[in-house]
């Protein structure tokens, strides 16, 4: 079984090698520019030949992404990217397959493909641009829009309850979930590299800002004033600390997470929960994925990263098993198998 990490080349690729000649046509100030830049930063670090990268997308602002990458790319139809990407990966497991989706594409029209790709654990990397709005259709609420959001199709505020991508990933038996934000290029690049290195379906949720239709959707987490108190950068094996001087932390109280401060009420660093991204049991991952302001920080970084057999590995094992047993080695063998008679 090949994984996505190949032997590094003699002439390492650079960011420039991954930029296509097409004019990038997102709105000025769109968070997508930063994601594109983080991606072209991440790919040269992987040591994979450029021709082995494939970018697949559905429909929406985010889905224009493949046109801007100088790799193989396929801009498909609304919501179906994970299904197309699945076909690409099964057809050629050597490829490093990336699938770009917006929140509407992934979680509304393509919700079914999204959960099933994750359930199968096929080795593709899904990057979810979550701006909690429909941009390309000019401003309707999306399945991740918060309740009460006023949009063109919810003039009195959305009455629907939103999806949280992380909960869906874990509900679908996902093996890799990371969250990052478009205002943090370094973290994005890092998460893309982690996603590529994970064998199995990787889901990176990027909290992305739509300047036109939902500006400031993530300001509660990204603004300078909020950043320290509302961003929890999780790292495997590290205590779950945050806040200005890393004095705040999370600890488990019964079956609930609570925010505590080191030095207050006798709390020391020993009381703080240590992040185990590699735990098979997703309970804590789910709890981390669900955290949000104002009572909790938003967890960023690799929340879950578990190795499990991929779909293509399982298929390959099955194929080998059948091959050793089978009496047929060609279609001609098959034609002549079973009840055959000759008319002379």
């Amino acid at each position: 079984m090949e994984n996505t990490i190949d032997i590094p080349q003699a002439n390492p690729l650079t960011k420039k090698d991954f930029e296509s000649d097409q004019m990038v046509r997102w709105c000025p100030g769109c968070g997508d520019y930063a994601i594109l830049s983080a991606m072209t930063n991440a790919l040269p670090q992987l040591g994979i030949p450029r021709e082995n990268f494939v970018f697949i997308s559905g429909i929406g602002c985010a889905s224009r992404f493949p046109y801007y990458m100088n790799t193989f790319g396929f801009h498909t139809i609304h919501g179906r990217g994970p299904a197309v990407a699945t076909g690409v990966k099964l057809a050629n497991p050597k490829l490093s397959v990336w699938e770009i989706q917006g929140d509407g594409d992934a979680l509304a029209i393509g919700g079914n493909h999204f959960i099933h790709a994750i359930r199968r654990n096929i080795d593709i990397n899904i990057i979810l641009f979550n701006n909690e709005i429909y941009g390309l259709t000019k401003g309707q609420y999306s399945p991740t829009s918060p309740q009460g959001l006023v949009t063109k199709s919810t003039p009195y505020g959305s009455v629907e309850r939103p999806f949280h991508a992380g909960e869906l990933v874990i509900g679908a038996q996902g093996t890799f979930y990371a969250r990052t934000i478009d205002t943090n290029p370094k973290l994005m690049t890092e998460m893309f590299v982690h996603a590529a290195q994970h064998i199995g379906t990787s889901l990176v949720e990027v909290l992305q800002n739509c300047v036109i239709f939902n500006d400031g959707a993530h300001a509660g987490v990204t603004d300078k004033v909020n950043r320290d108190d509302f961003q929890l950068h999780v790292k495997h094996g590290q205590p779950l600390l945050f806040g200005k001087d890393n004095k705040k932390g999370l600890r488990l109280n019964g079956l609930k997470l609570e925010v505590v401060t080191i030095g207050e009420n006798g709390i020391t660093e020993k009381d703080i929960l240590v992040h185990d991204a590699e735990s098979e049991d997703p309970t804590l991952h789910l709890m981390l994925a669900r955290l949000s302001p104002p009572h909790f920080p938003m967890a960023l970084g690799v929340i879950r990263n578990v190795r499990a057999k991929t779909y293509e590995e399982a298929l390959e094992e099955e194929r080998e098993k059948i091959t050793t047993k089978s009496k047929y080695h060609s279609v001609d063998d098959l034609l002549k198998s079973g009840e055959v008679w000759e008319i002379k």
Binding site: Y67, N70, V88, A91, H329, V331
Partner: protein
């Protein structure tokens, strides 16, 4: 066939052809019984065609009409193209089987019933008010009342078998009776039984005993005093096997993928009557086949498109409701100009319709059923065995012309089976995949072959050929996104022209007959057997009519117009409300194109078609 098969005095009669129908509860093993009879007859040298007729419900309540499963086979010493209009012999294992199958038996035909099953409870369950064996219901038929259940029980006495297993052997008793009646050997079925019950010798012994008991019973009783011979047909020399339409479709696709040196990727979602293609292909993953049971019809076709993009032969299989769901994705394959085979095993519709019944009403959705100008190649198989050939051709056209190809089969072809003189794959037409090349060091994904207009197929993983494609309109040659009005106009016309040019690579139509130019009878797809039989029988009695059958629907064969122009009347027969006739009228305005249609979930009957043709010959 006009004489009674079971006459009153001992004789051996020779028949040209005969139709036998087995019917019983869906758990009674009627499909197995029918296929064993067919296999034995094929070995004997008969030509034949079979058709199973089973309920949509998996196991409807025992003894009810809804739970009846039937299997019809026509065997002959002459060429057999259909399973036959009406049965000459019906084997009915219970009152419900009699109730639901009596309409398929020729008046004067023969009915063998299991007398033991005709008890009051079963009679009422089947919906008879009085016992049909006694109330004159069967006055027009020759009835053999055989106590099949009790005789099976007696025959199996002493074996370590429970009552359920004993009763499940009674189909072999009935089969034994038919083997005697048609002078068939028990050998093949005995071999089959031994193989099937290798691990349970008591069951093997029981089934063999029942088979022999039925054979000897038929030999002994007065009611069955004659044996019938249907002599071997004049069949081309060679190796034969039985094949159903769905298996033939699967194997044809495999043969094509093997020939082109690519893997076959099937993305499919289970749906009646197409699922057997998924089942069959899933068995052969050691032969370069990848199958994925997708989460829905859309994922099925999209994964196939992804596989094609990455260089394998992408295929999706479904039936009408699934094809409706796949429309947008097929449009993507049209726009991205990728090879794709979409198999539509047609069934009765609209909506869920008649899942287990046949129909030919998807020609419109196949040719026109996508948004905007979205041309695809549409071809149709016409016999269970030639599903192999057309599946092969579908894949060949898809990769050589870089286009989606929709292959239409139907429930009748899919489940029907016939003996097939199978080819060696070396004799199949070659499949040529053109290697894409660069122009002055740059690869342009929409550079086209001058003859076919097919674009290049550069695969991910090929250094220097990185490119982007997608569902947005393309600039000609470069494939970059383009909203330019004139470019769009040109690309729309080019995609249409590319599909039209497939006509240069498909066989021309062949006219069957030497009529006087008055009437041309036209069929397409799965109605071939009935049409051919009706036409041949009329031609033999010196009626002047000709016949053409279409396997290529879009584009049409190049000589279609020239042939049509020779006739004053063209009669298009199809199992829908005239979809192909409309298509032909729009292509050839001014011609006298008439339509004969039927939408009953059933194939045409030969007698029905003959009457229609004779009527049309009158005026």
């Amino acid at each position: 066939m006009s004489e009674t098969i079971i006459p009153s005095k001992k004789a051996t009669k020779e028949l040209d052809k005969v139709v036998i129908r087995f019917a019983g509860d869906s758990g009674d093993g009627m499909q197995l019984t029918g296929s064993q009879f067919s296999f034995t007859s094929a070995l004997w040298g008969n030509d034949l065609a079979t058709f199973p007729d089973y309920p949509a419900e998996i196991r409807a309540p025992q003894g009810t009409v809804e739970g009846v499963s039937g299997f019809q086979v026509q065997i002959g010493k002459i060429d057999i193209y259909t399973p036959g209009d009406e049965a000459d012999v019906l084997v009915a294992m219970n009152p419900a089987a009699l109730k639901s199958n009596l309409k398929f038996v020729r008046k004067g035909g023969n009915i063998v019933v299991d007398l033991d099953a005709f008890v009051l409870r079963n009679i009422e369950k089947a919906g008879f008010v009085t016992n049909p064996l006694e109330d004159g219901t069967l006055a027009d038929y020759n009835v053999v009342e055989a106590p099949i259940s009790s005789l099976t029980k007696t025959a199996l006495e002493g074996l370590q078998l429970d009552n359920k297993s004993i009763m499940r052997s009674k189909n072999m008793f009935a089969l034994g009776m038919m083997y005697w009646l048609f002078d068939r050997s028990l050998k093949e079925t005995e071999k089959y039984i031994e193989d099937k019950f290798k691990k349970t010798p008591a069951l093997a012994e029981g089934n063999k005993r029942a088979l022999n008991a039925g054979f000897h019973y038929a030999e002994t009783i007065e009611a069955l005093p004659a044996m019938y011979k249907v002599p071997p047909a004049q069949i081309e020399k060679g190796l034969y096997r039985h094949i159903s339409g769905n298996v033939a479709t699967a194997w044809g696709l495999m043969a094509a993928a093997e020939r082109m040196g690519r893997k076959l990727f099937l993305g499919s979602y289970p749906i009646t009557p197409a699922s057997d293609i998924l089942h069959e292909l899933s068995r052969h993953k050691n032969l370069g086949v990848i199958t994925m049971q997708a989460e829905d019809e859309i994922a099925a076709v999209c994964s196939a498109i992804g596989a094609s993009y990455a260089g394998q032969m992408g295929v999706t299989t479904s039936s009408g409701p699934g094809i409706a769901l796949k429309g947008e994705a097929i449009g993507l394959a049209v726009m991205a100009e990728l090879p794709l085979v979409v198999v539509d095993v047609q069934r009765g519709g609209p909506s869920t319709g008649l899942p287990t019944k046949t129909e030919q009403a998807d020609i419109n959705i196949a040719v026109f059923g996508r948004n905007s100008e979205s041309p695809a190649v549409v071809i149709a198989a016409s016999t269970p065995a030639n599903c192999f050939d057309y599946a092969y051709m579908a894949a060949k056209i898809a990769v050589e012309h870089m286009t989606p190809v929709i292959l239409l089969t139907d429930g009748y072809l899919a489940n029907g089976s016939e003996p097939w003189k199978f080819p060696s794959t070396a004799d199949l037409p070659p499949i040529t995949i053109k290697v894409p090349h660069k122009e002055n060091g740059t690869y342009y994904p929409y550079v086209r072959d001058v003859e076919t207009l097919a674009r290049g197929w550069a695969l991910p993983g090929t250094p220097g050929f990185e490119h982007r494609i997608g569902g947005l309109e393309k600039q000609e040659k470069t494939g970059n996104v383009s909203y330019d009005p004139l470019n769009h106009d040109k690309m729309v016309r080019t995609r249409a022209e590319k599909v039209e040019r497939v006509a240069n690579y498909i066989p021309e139509l062949e006219v069957i007959g030497e009529g006087d130019g008055k009437l041309l009878v036209v069929g397409w797809g799965g109605t071939f057997g009935g049409m051919r039989t009706a036409v041949t029988e009329l031609q033999r009695s010196n009626r002047k009519l000709d016949f053409v059958h279409f396997n290529y629907i879009n584009p049409l064969p190049k000589n279609t117009k020239e042939i049509f122009e020779r006739y004053s009347k063209i009669l298009v027969c199809e199992l829908n409300l005239g979809q192909f006739a409309s298509l032909l009228r729009s292509k050839f305005p001014g011609m006298n194109i008439q339509s004969y249609t039927k939408v009953q979930g059933q194939p045409f009957l030969v007698t029905e078609l003959k009457e229609v043709f004779i009527d049309h010959l009158k005026d």
